[in-house]
Symmetry: C2
Subunit: 418 residues, 2 copies
């Protein structure tokens, strides 16, 4: 927290001292008033700059402590989070029709998704507040990452899921020992219960819609992207950074991190941001195309992690695309499934549907002329394919049934394989 100077409401502009407020803007309320953490970048730069980082050994998101709202390093948990691999993927570039494609595999985080970066920070903030318990409402990666980091800290967690949450994701929560409430109602009802319980019992609230600190964890993916590219990349930083968009918090964090690295002298030119939505849930794309306010929609896509009809970080998400001169596109579920196999076969990275939507979006943007064939892209793959085996089964086709007989095998091989 040494360099945090305040929390600023993205809606009304009011700025608060960090100790004055825990969540959303008291004036605007949680429907609008998400806060942005403001740093003294001149002071940050004295500790965090290209020279100082050269010899730094730490290879995790904690490499960037001066840019994180952490009061006491002793609260950092043992799980190795961040510094996920960045791969150059020539075969994938050819498939997508771009000059170069880089893939950052966030599925390699402790609970197998990008959300670990946010939950790692959320649990630390709960410990700072000496909270008795941490809570969120979610059925997906936010919940499983919270359960994992809460387990690491020995901090009790309560997670509210709607009745229809898939059995597999509930199992992941329970394995880590979270208390899981299966709310016999909708997701919105689960969310409301979580908000009320947090308030009533003083539990720490890990919901990106109200908590200003989670995006600070998320932005670290960009800090790494820039440093890793500078280390292994040949030539200029990718023209585009691409990510799937649900709530808007992730893309907002990515943009904030890139701006910070630009401000601190690691990056000479900011890339454009491509935000990729599912065709069955595209409120950002609609508002961007029509230059209109958010209109919440019903979500219909198999990419559950971006099936967010009412994005709470709309302002931050829209800012990323507008300020960078980027674009939004939307991709069908069919294109997402194709991207799953394309990414796995051409870059050997197995992503979940929302995780690979960015790959599908690059293809779409090239076809639309938004991304030129001479441009290069970096895609953030936000979650591991093992999180959603059912979609992989849909995407991957079927094995060849064969009798236990060598001549039968040879016949098929002769006809199909060689």
């Amino acid at each position: 927290m040494r360099f945090v100077v305040g929390l600023k409401c993205v809606h009304c502009g009011e700025q608060y001292a960090p100790e004055a407020v825990d969540y959303y803007c008291p004036r605007c309320g949680y429907h609008d008033g998400i806060l942005d953490v403001i740093y003294d970048y001149d002071a940050v730069q004295s500790e965090l700059n290209p020279q100082s980082m050269r010899g730094k050994k730490e290879r995790s998101m904690w490499r960037y402590l001066p840019l994180l709202p952490i009061a006491d390093e002793a609260n950092i948990q043992h799980l190795q989070v961040g510094w996920t691999p960045l791969y150059h993927a020539p075969r994938l570039s050819a498939y997508l029709g771009v000059a170069h494609c880089w893939v950052k595999d966030e599925g390699r985080n402790p609970t197998a998704s990008f959300k670990d970066r946010a939950s790692a920070v959320g649990v630390i903030k709960a410990l700072e507040k000496k909270a008795s318990r941490i809570t969120c409402a979610s059925t997906g990666n936010a919940a499983s990452s919270l359960a994992g980091f809460a387990a690491a800290a020995g901090l009790p967690a309560t997670i509210f899921v709607p009745r229809r949450a898939p059995e597999a994701k509930i199992a992941q929560l329970l394995i880590y020992g979270a208390q899981v409430f299966s709310v016999q109602g909708t997701y919105d009802q689960a969310w409301e219960l979580c908000m009320q319980a947090s308030e009533r019992f003083g539990w720490y609230n890990r919901n990106c819609a109200v908590n200003p600190y989670l995006i600070e964890g998320k932005k670290t993916v960009s800090l790494e992207l820039v440093e890793q590219f500078n280390e292994i990349g040949a030539g200029h930083f990718p023209d585009w950074v691409v990510v799937s968009v649900g709530d808007g918090c992730t893309i907002g964090g990515i943009w904030k991190g890139l701006k910070e690295m630009h401000r601190l002298g690691f990056l000479s030119k900011l890339p454009k941001i491509l935000g990729v939505q599912a065709a069955g849930c595209q409120p950002f794309l609609t508002a961007w195309q029509q230059d209109s306010p958010l209109v919440p929609v019903a979500a219909d896509t198999l990419a559950d992690s971006i099936a967010v009809g009412h994005p709470r970080n709309f302002y931050k998400g829209m800012l990323a695309v507008k300020e960078s001169g980027g674009a939004f596109v939307a991709v069908t579920d069919k294109a997402i499934l194709e991207a799953m196999t394309a990414l796995a076969r051409n870059a050997a990275v197995f992503g979940e549907p929302a995780g690979v939507a960015g790959i599908a979006g690059i293809k779409q943007a090239v076809e639309m002329g938004i991304i030129g064939p001479e441009e290069s892209v970096a895609a953030i793959v936000t979650g591991n394919g093992l999180k959603d085996i059912q979609s992989a089964v849909k995407a991957a086709g079927a094995p060849v049934a064969v009798a236990p007989d060598m001549e039968a095998v040879a016949g098929i091989i002769g006809g199909i394989l060689l």
Copy 2:
């Protein structure tokens, strides 16, 4: 390959030049004649020693190239493999009743299991041989890691699975683009077809039962364990290194790697090895207790990755325990499920059943007096829990159903939680 002096049959002792033979001992055949890769350790030590490694930046299994049978570094694939996290786990130590417990989380590898270390080497050897295709018979982690690394290399792969292979694991293979034959018969029939197809079509054979190089990849987990412990551990190296045992190749590789680090001056005293089998499939334990030859058994356990009734690396596996003065134990499926939750809740690592069997084995060994309460242990967790969600569901219990009503939630919380 610079330091490889030969391949020696573990059965008859015959030694071959590396270029003279690809797989098992020609004299003994594949039922007995697994080969061991022999190095010139004096020459290795001139390049790989505690001084030379201090400034080495590479953090992957390729850090140990002088100890690997790789002819050309250009064949190394991009996937970041190895240098998985090593965690000190005080709460888990207390639960297990040992002085210290360290957990090495192999589920953080590219396809989420320890087997990636072996497949990474296997694919390189196939490329060296200019093979047109690589093959194996398996339903589990060996297959999925092979599919992943073959995809990385753009090398076609054919995998033989028995008809009853679980849908999820088949999906992982297909996503990476492997050709998958679903053999309408038993695992043994799938294995025989694979051996015949490899021979008939000249495909490179990635089966630990016949391929001498895979264990070389596996041993790297021990090389890392020693270096990582020297870096972050306080005090002496763990008294025990613990791993689950199926075929015997993994535990054999772990022991070989430890002996190499001892030989090269990284480790002053060798630990004892605890090999943990499932109670429903314990041919190693039986042979060790009775000091008798291997008697193959029928396998009956939910820990599929160690459900190996006829271990092909029996000699190497038995050597690890006998030479180290260690022990075998067997654990029930119930104990394995308990270990899943214990590991997740006390160390925040979610392992698959075979991956956590080692944790259950520590508890068992402490209860039997094999491991003393003053001793310390390092457990290798071989696979990610996301590989087997059905077992996690069995282990983790059920969520609390609640009406979408705050008073209902508060009632339950008052009664249960606080």
